[in-house]
């Protein structure tokens, strides 16, 4: 069973809740444990919608198909249940939670995973937090700041990576994590993913990106091209390079024809 996909998306259709038109028009995607997949596509192709549907964003509504995660029907689960099952999404625009420290936030997230009546050991938590921050070369004082409150773009990404390191998911969906980032911030994300991957080779990663550049730092096993709500091509890293040279125009035209 080792080769069974951890994530299996089949004929998935979805739209913005209360709107008529589907954005996803039949997406098929299978990710095996430990694989890194990249989905590239132009603006409006639906790649970010796919990430949000997998994580369970309430503004999106699946209209057909299925998403199976580790043998479970993901679409039937609440966002918190998906997280507890092992799905993690790094946000494109992480949200500010003023007055709540990163440490407190992470402690609450871990506590939520325990059975009723069970208490998170604070000493163990502190140790885990320090260990993860050291691994990611972060200053311990970072954990005392309010979640994303007044953070630079790079700090927000750093915070997403730290959360991923603490919550230890089996599938990490990176939703356009590299958009609008300067090269230093982009390296934070790439190094974070590589470091965590090295430590736990079984983590699967779905990297959603508009640009090829992050793929210079994280090497995908499979690259998909998404256009107009469908995956139109899949292959190795060479797909990304070809795309860089030719642009999306060709796919669009082919699709329109």
């Amino acid at each position: 069973m080792d080769n069974a996909p951890i994530l299996n998306v089949a004929a998935l259709r979805a739209r913005v809740a209360d709107e008529d038109l589907d954005i996803l028009k039949g997406v098929d995607l299978a990710i095996k444990p430990g694989e890194i997949h990249a989905i590239m596509g132009p603006n409006g192709s639906g790649k970010s919608t796919l990430a949000k549907v997998i994580a369970g964003h309430p503004a999106y509504e699946p209209t057909g198909g299925l998403v199976n995660f580790d043998g479970e029907d993901l679409l039937e689960m609440e966002p918190d249940e998906r997280a507890q099952a092992g799905v993690f999404m790094a946000f494109q625009y992480p949200v500010e939670i003023p007055g709540v420290s990163i440490a407190n936030f992470l402690r609450t997230a871990l506590q939520a995973r325990l059975e009723d009546g069970e208490e998170l050991d604070l000493f163990d938590f502190q140790e885990l937090l320090m260990d993860r921050m050291e691994l990611l070369e972060m200053d311990p004082s970072f954990a005392q700041r309010s979640v994303n409150d007044g953070f630079s773009g790079g700090e927000k990404k750093r915070n997403e990576i730290l959360q991923m390191a603490i919550l230890n998911p089996s599938l990490a969906v990176m939703d356009e994590t590299d958009s609008g980032l300067d090269i230093d911030a982009l390296k934070i994300v790439a190094n974070g993913v590589n470091t965590l991957k090295k430590e736990n080779p079984d983590i699967s990663v779905l990297l959603i990106t508009h640009y090829q550049r992050i793929l210079n730092h994280v090497t995908p096993d499979v690259v998909h091209v998404m256009v107009d709500g469908r995956i139109v091509e899949s292959g190795g890293p060479e797909v990304a390079l070809a795309l860089e040279a030719r642009g999306y125009e060709e796919y669009r035209n082919a699709h329109a024809a």
């Binding site: 309430p58 992480p94 871990l110």
Partner: protein, 471 residues
């Protein structure tokens, strides 16, 4: 799902202080209010003639003033007051030891955790049950340094000169209708004196409990922090849940003398059938520092605007408040800072949370008189709305008659957003946990000012309230 907000009433079951104690009062006046009732209260307290005269005069002022037409809805209050007992005496005398307090009353305070808190974290405790203080004690350490912490009645009896010098001077009866009412029928409350230079290491606490149905509670507190002293006073309030409305109208007068620092903290958690109309004011003298820390969680309607009158050069006043308005509740709160002298400074930080059909209003005044050169004031009020039906309003009044004054005002309204909830849920928290975390973060700047035990209790109360907030 987030966004699909089904508003569930909290239900009164969540209010854990709503129990009734079966205790027989030793005396109570008939319902309603007139001069005869005022005379009965004064006679019961064995008061000097001047105090009775003051009460009767205050009653006339009360009767002559119309009900306020601003703030909350007081249209049913006159009916409520006709049914109200203005004075209910729970026992014959005030005790100095918990052992001597009648069992039923003692049990009430034990359920509220007061004797335990007294042992562990407080310098002294006063406990009021209905209209009278039933218990008062001060640790020997402070008594020997000349600190006075007593019921207001004993303050009048045992320290008549000090009492008369200040009583009704900070808040005269004519200040407003409810200050007049309190001045006519006041009963219970604390008399506090901190001698020059004495620094109280732990807080004094007064605890107010209403047990009798249809009671009006009118405590009166007078605090004098003498030159260079430092102290912290905490007030807590709860009541049973009755189907009829009750009424609480306190008056708190504080004199902060030169270079003294005083903090007054309120954690008001009345049941949702309580009108809570309170006047709190401090006169702050040269170089002195006054802080009001005001937490309003319960009641049907609260109207309360703690104020600092900055009377002399270098005086500083701070008002920090948290208001929580659940279903059917209205918290009309805020603060007033009056700059009379040069180089005075003040700050108001007000945070409110409205849930369900709850309504919170910030109402504040910043006044700088001509001649209060270089006065500085900053007001910040933030409102958080939990549901579509929740409401908040801001009424800031700013009157500046001094050119060199610097005054800032900033107001924000935020709604707990679907994006925020989704972010937290995508980390594994359920919706109620996510909501509670957002609210805790919102009040954190004020909660961190509370003694730890109270901050923990406040967070716990908020969590309890949030459990019913999402569908």
């Amino acid at each position: 799902m987030p966004g699909n907000e089904v508003i569930q009433g909290l239900g009164l079951d969540d209010y854990k202080f709503g129990f009734v104690t079966d205790s027989e009062p030793v005396f109570r006046t008939r319902p309603g209010l007139d001069a005869e009732i005022v005379e009965q209260i004064s006679a019961r307290k064995d008061e000097p003639e001047w105090m009775l005269k003051r009460r009767l005069k205050a009653l006339r002022i009360y009767e002559s003033k119309p009900m306020p037409q601003w703030g909350g809805d007081l249209s049913e209050l006159e009916d409520t007051l006709r049914q109200t007992y203005f004075y209910v005496r729970p026992q014959e005398q005030m005790e100095r030891s918990w052992d001597d307090v009648p069992d039923s009353i003692k049990e009430t305070f034990e359920r509220l955790g007061i004797p335990e808190a007294e042992r562990e974290i407080l310098a002294g405790v006063g406990a009021q049950y209905d209209s009278e203080m039933v218990y008062h004690s001060l640790k020997e350490e402070w008594e020997s340094k000349g600190v006075i912490f007593d019921s207001i009645e004993d303050g009048l009896k045992n320290h008549p000169e000090l009492f008369r010098e200040h009583f009704g001077k900070v808040i005269p009866a004519a200040d407003n209708k409810f200050a007049a009412l309190n001045s006519a029928v006041w009963s219970g409350g604390s008399f506090v004196y901190i001698p020059p230079g004495v620094e109280l290491k732990t807080p004094l606490q007064a605890y107010f409990r209403v047990n009798q149905e249809r009671l009006g509670q009118f405590e009166r507190t007078l605090i004098i922090a003498d030159e260079g002293s430092r102290a912290h006073y905490i007030e807590g309030c709860t009541a049973p849940v009755y189907s009829t409305d009750s009424f609480h109208s306190g008056v708190i007068e504080i004199v902060v003398k030169r270079e003294a620092r005083f903090r007054y903290t309120t954690i008001q958690n009345w049941s949702n059938n309580m009108y809570n109309l309170v006047t709190q004011r401090a006169l702050v003298h040269r170089g002195a520092h006054m802080e009001w820390l005001d937490g309003n969680l319960g009641s049907k309607l609260t109207m309360k605007y703690p104020s600092c009158y900055l009377m002399e050069e270098g005086a500083h006043g701070e008002i920090m408040s948290i208001a929580y308005a659940g279903d059917g509740q209205h918290q009309d709160t805020g603060g007033k800072v009056i700059h009379v002298a040069p180089n005075t400074s003040s700050s108001i930080v007000s945070k409110s949370i409205s849930k369900g059909t709850g309504r919170s209003s910030y109402r504040g005044l910043c006044k700088v008189y001509d001649g209060a050169a270089n006065a500085r004031s900053n007001v910040e009020c933030d409102a958080l709305l939990i549901n579509e039906t929740s409401r908040t309003d801001t009424f800031p009044y700013i009157e500046i008659d001094e050119k060199s004054a610097t005054v800032g005002h900033e107001a924000t309204v935020s709604k707990v957003g679907d994006e925020q909830l989704f972010y937290l849920m995508s980390r594994g928290m359920d919706e109620a946990e996510a909501m509670a975390l957002i609210v805790r973060g919102f009040i954190e700047p004020i909660a961190k000012e509370l003694p730890l035990e109270y901050a923990v209790e406040l967070n716990r109360l908020i969590e309890l309230e949030m459990e019913g907030s999402v569908g």
